[in-house]
Amino acid sequence: MSENFKVTIDNITVEVAPGTTILEAARKVGGAVAPPTMCYYSKLEGSGGKCRTCLVEVSKGSEKDPRPMPKLVASCRTTVMDGMEVKNITSEKVPDARAGVTEFLLLNHPLDCPVCDQAGECDLQDLGYEHGKEGTRTEFPRRTFAPEDIGPYIQLHMNRCILCYRCVYTAEQLTERREHGVLDRGEHSRISTCIKNSLDNEFIGNVIDVCPVGALTDKTFRFKNRVWFTKPLDAHRNCSNPNCCGEVRLWMRGDEVYRVTARKDEWGEVATASNGKTGWICNECRFDKKDTKDWVIEGPTNINRHSVISQGHYAGTEGTAGKAEKLIDKVIGQEPKYTLDIHSVSEVNKPSVHLDRIPGPAHSNDFK
């Protein structure tokens, strides 16, 4: 019915349907032209606009009204106009603003990547690597929150949370009743539940997959392995839950299934399943089916994100470091204790030890 809009992003012109956001148009171009996103999630209605990492410059508003927009805009929540011209990587202002946002996001972040299960597949690590500056300009103690048990499956590390609200939208849109949300205001805002330990809905496990950082992690996988030592395989099973697509990714070491997650697309979002719906999975598939016998294995996962996981060089990966390939080849299946089995070396998964409560870097004595 309506004509497509032409929009030019970093000098590349694409045609998109009216109502498309600048971000989705930029993803159509792909590559570095697509702005980084920390809060937007195309599968979650209402998400986006909060983290401000996707800011872009609109140098021409539209064919009809060519004036540039006075401020940088959040590309994830701004729709395109016909003839719009956008600058992302070609802008002079965007890199500075994005570096600023990165600095803000890291300002109170605990930087505990060495003991964080998300390390290696963390959007904040990627953002910091690509847009952050070396060193920090803050000299103040970082904000901390009291540890809190939010439910039987999911571990909350509030100190790592960037308040993207994705988990809130996920619970709102996937479960019949949302049991958690953001409490308090400003710097003290935190993810929490009104009723203690109440996150046990059969689809609540999906909040782990949407969380861009290690604030929500899988209790059944906690401290068991580093993601870059595990090997992802695509698999499926005939799940009895009608709302579960049963299509997953198994994270293996040897014959052991360490972790089950939903499949992700190239933007790090839960991928579309073969039934055409978003590939959310149920708790049973995620937490209880940790045996290869439960699954029909399809084959190695095609990873094309720039994460360290791709250093494993499985089929179709675009990993860059030849050296890493050799290292991985050496260590797989050998279990050298000092690099692989962090769990038994550091014993950090003792339930009585809360990393949040340890001031400064953790020491082996802390786990005695």
Binding site: K71, A97, V101, E103, F104, Y165, V182, H188
Partner: protein, 449 residues
Amino acid sequence: MKLLLEKAHIEGIRYYDTYRKNGGYSSVEKALKMSPDEIVEEVKKSGLRGRGGAGFPTGMKWSFLAKPEGVPRHLVCNADESEPGTFKDRYLMEFLPHLFIEGMIISSYALGSNTSYIYIRGEYAWIPDILEQAIAEAKEAGWLGKNIKGTGFDCEIYVQRGGGAYICGEETALIESLEGKRGNPRIKPPFPAVQGLWMRPTVVNNVETIAAVGPIITMGGDEYAKLGAGRSTGTKLISACGNLNKPGVYEIDFNLSVEEFIYSDEYCGGIPNGKKLKACIPGGSSVPILPANLLLHESNGNKRLMNYESLSEGGFQTGTMLGSGGFIVLDEDQCVVRHTMSLAHFYNHESCGQCSPCREGTGWMYKILKNIEYGKGKMEDIDLLWDIQRRIEGNTICPLGDAAAWPVAAAIRHFRDEFEWHVLHPEEAQTRNYGLAHYAEPRTIVAAQ
């Protein structure tokens, strides 16, 4: 010329009978004989600009209101008044509630809002009772309710108390809060005029804006537009506070000079104890602070006047903003660093925490300012502050981010030597303030990389 506070001195004007005897509700009578579009037209002609801070033309805002068939529309009055230094709406609601309710009725009629709301800050604990009584009296007299005076127009007004969050004064956070949700500003678009309260078309206006609608209808938009100066039409309430002999709420003509407002006996009556004027924030805590010389004179040497254009003359290099009219005066004994720290604390405390620059940046600025104020600052901290505010401004969801950045930027722009003095004299800074300096030229700041 007084339009709003004309009858403020009359004994018992808070009650309907006295108010009516003194000519009250004649503007509603007149308005109900007009068509809604005619009223919008009068408001457009009047040139009335929003008194909540942004100064957006009210008639234009009203004409943007979407009118889809079969969808109710709402008028929401923003009585959240939490901007430090601003207390003019309180005066209107407390002493002239019927003037305000009159404006609410006319505006509701003009916009076709059958259910209108007044969202009032929780700390004004006693005012909802005054408003609810005025509403009940107006209803009793037939100015509210079903089929008002036989026009076929129905209208109810409800008063909703807020929980005491500054951010709920931002119009979309206010709407969220009114809906019973967490007071987070919405990401715009869509704007309230299209999807506001319960996703229906909504107009949000400040108390003083609404109160001005009555006089506009009585005298006609053209007459109202003749008052004032240029695009600053009508009159404005200024709440003056700080080091003044006579702090309080004044209704001013837009041709009044800042100097006369501060020093004349008709208004603030000068600075107490023979002290000198050091600086002033003329429009509520969010607007840039100006040193005395720039406050009293525009960059071209002309006297600075109390209106939108004159106060913002020269942009932020040499000017500021009229904002909400919260006029805060600092005498020579006041410390700009301490003052800036206290504002930074306020914005840090009031950030809703949705977007990262404001959530993280406001706290960072506050901590650095605290260090400088308490003698632990470093020279680099001043450039760092500049850099932080620069990266908050314009990059956030709602204007609270800008409101947090501007005071810091202006303080450094105009009073950098005071910050430096704090760093160089950490011990002395604890016991005395930096003297009255001559800030004749605006400083140009080279942004630190």
